[in-house]
Amino acid sequence: MTFVGLLTAIDRERFRVLTSEGVTEASMLIKKPSDIPYSEITPKSVYMNRRKFLAGVAAATGAATLGARPVSDWLEPRYVLADEAKLGPLVKSPFSTTEPPTPLKDVSTYNNYYEFGTDKSDPARNATKFVTAPWSVTVEGEVNKPRKFDLEELRKLAPLEERIYRHRCVEAWSIVVPWIGYSFSALAKEVDPKPTAKFVAFQSYYDLKQMPLGPRAGIELPYVEGLRLDEAMNPLALLTFGMFGETLPNQDGAPVRMVLPWKYGFKSVKSLVRIRFVKDMPPTTWNIANAHEYGFYSNVNPQVDHPRWSQATERRLDGSFFGKRIKTLMFNGYGDQVASMYNGMDLRKYY
């Protein structure tokens, strides 16, 4: 009996969601991963048993090779999420891509969150005890109704949507993530920006007690970011509370973060505590650290290289061993929604 045959024989129903390269034949029998709501995903106890079984099968058949990473990939959270972590019901979004999501395991173990260490694997290890409740976000500045929101209030401000976005890091790798949140503009309406508000400044949580590695990050903390008001009001700008059907893991910016899919990843601040509507262009962390390499706009742009590496292509982390090297798209492929905001701007100058 072949490995694939074994897999399908075990439980055809449960294997609908396998996406790994090793079981492409099996996946022909089954639905596309994107068709399946995350709530239908196999409970942990079941897949843990399945894992043990599969490990046995793999060992017995010698099926494990470098090319085929262990099966069941992206439904295998290394971090156990409680049932109350589930977010829903979720509204589907027309902004979602049909590209297959990067395995959850990769999205939650490969993070740039310098407050918890500068190695990609650091945040998953060091953020486990990060306290995200109670949590509040202060919204202030050039607004008519400044307010401090509890996380729960904030989450209920608008219907939660699932948006499967491409996420392109300035380091030339990319992932596809099913985020959960709503357009930032919904929050903006709630506080009613004054006509004098031209920019929005975002600030991440920073606390040396919880983030003792912060001083070694080599960047000024707390982390600050900013957008022009029209960028912040663009429907793509997502105030994000979860991913893969559940609340955000700490290392991915819990409990609330921004996601700006047409910009390099570092523009999307994590663990938001303060939002200020302001008159002038606010300072941004990576621009402070190295203005020559990181501009205020930092739109994904394959024609403008980072001074130290090319931005023409990216490695799509898709759970396979080598990943795929693919061409980087202007505005990360979101030009239809965002390009008009930059009409007449020299994007080489405003990188």
């Binding site: 494990a64 470098l66 990473r69 262990p70 990067t102 395995p103 395991k105 990769d106 999205v107 173990t109 490969y110 310098y114 500068t118 990609k120 694997s121 380091e171 790798w173 992932i175 070694r216 990050a217 080599g218 960047i219 650290a289 190295n290 130290r308 590496w309 090319s310 490695r315 982390l317 061993f321 080598f322 990943g323 090297r325």
Partner: protein
């Protein structure tokens, strides 16, 4: 310290040290088979092999100071093996770039070396090691002659500096690890400078003594 080679046959040490040098590679392969290289295995392999190449160069460069300070002349016999292992890991590191990052695209590679200072540095560090690896055999040492061979192999000083600069220039903000390498290299090369200066002074002193004695005789 007494010369340990009087008590232990150093020939027995070579196989275990050889195997120890293979451990980083073995660990990478093991991690690859157990899905532990993370979300971006290619990047992990690149960083790991690059780091081990630098470690190898530092170990190679520490043989001479250790030999002199501890008075263990036998240490020099392991220098070639460490040097070749450093070159081996540098080759693996170089291969990840040629194969995976550039996709064997010669034009892209030339553009990279020309345009990106950190790649220029890494490339320099690697290329400088090639003649050293080629001339590492006993036959080559004999053919070149000890003096010329020694001169040529000083290229390792430039190579290791280029390697550390390559690392320093590629990190985004946290320079802790490349700076540690820089410190180690500074100590290893600083030792040589001081040793050289002291030797010169001794020679000068000896010459002066000799000169003084001669002047006594001529007086």
């Amino acid at each position: 310290m007494k010369d340990l080679s009087r008590h232990i046959n150093m020939r027995w040490l070579k196989p275990p040290i050889f195997l120890a040098c293979l451990l980083p590679l073995a660990h990478l392969v093991w991690m690859g088979f157990h899905d532990e290289l993370g979300a971006n295995p290619v990047e992990y392999i690149t960083h790991s092999t690059g780091t081990w190449a630098l470690v190898g160069l530092c170990v190679t460069l520490s043989m001479t100071p250790l030999r002199r300070i501890l008075k263990q002349n036998w240490l020099i016999r392991f220098r070639r093996m460490f040097g070749l292992f450093a070159f081996f890991y540098a080759c693996l590191h170089f291969t990840t770039w040629v194969w995976i990052y550039s996709g064997f695209d010669i034009h892209a590679m030339i553009a990279d070396v020309y345009k990106r200072p950190f790649i220029t540095m890494g490339f320099t560090a690697f290329v400088l090691l090639i003649p050293l690896a080629i001339t590492s055999t006993s036959g080559m040492i004999r053919r070149l002659g000890g003096r010329r061979w020694n001169m040529l192999h000083r290229l390792i000083y430039i190579s290791v500096c280029a390697g550390v600069i390559h690392y320093l220039w590629l990190v985004k903000s946290d320079k802790t690890i490349p700076l540690r390498f820089a410190a180690v290299v500074a100590v290893l090369l600083g030792y040589r400078v001081i040793h050289y200066a002291l030797q010169r002074r001794e020679q000068a002193a000896a010459a002066a003594k000799k000169g003084a004695r001669e002047s006594v005789y001529t007086a």
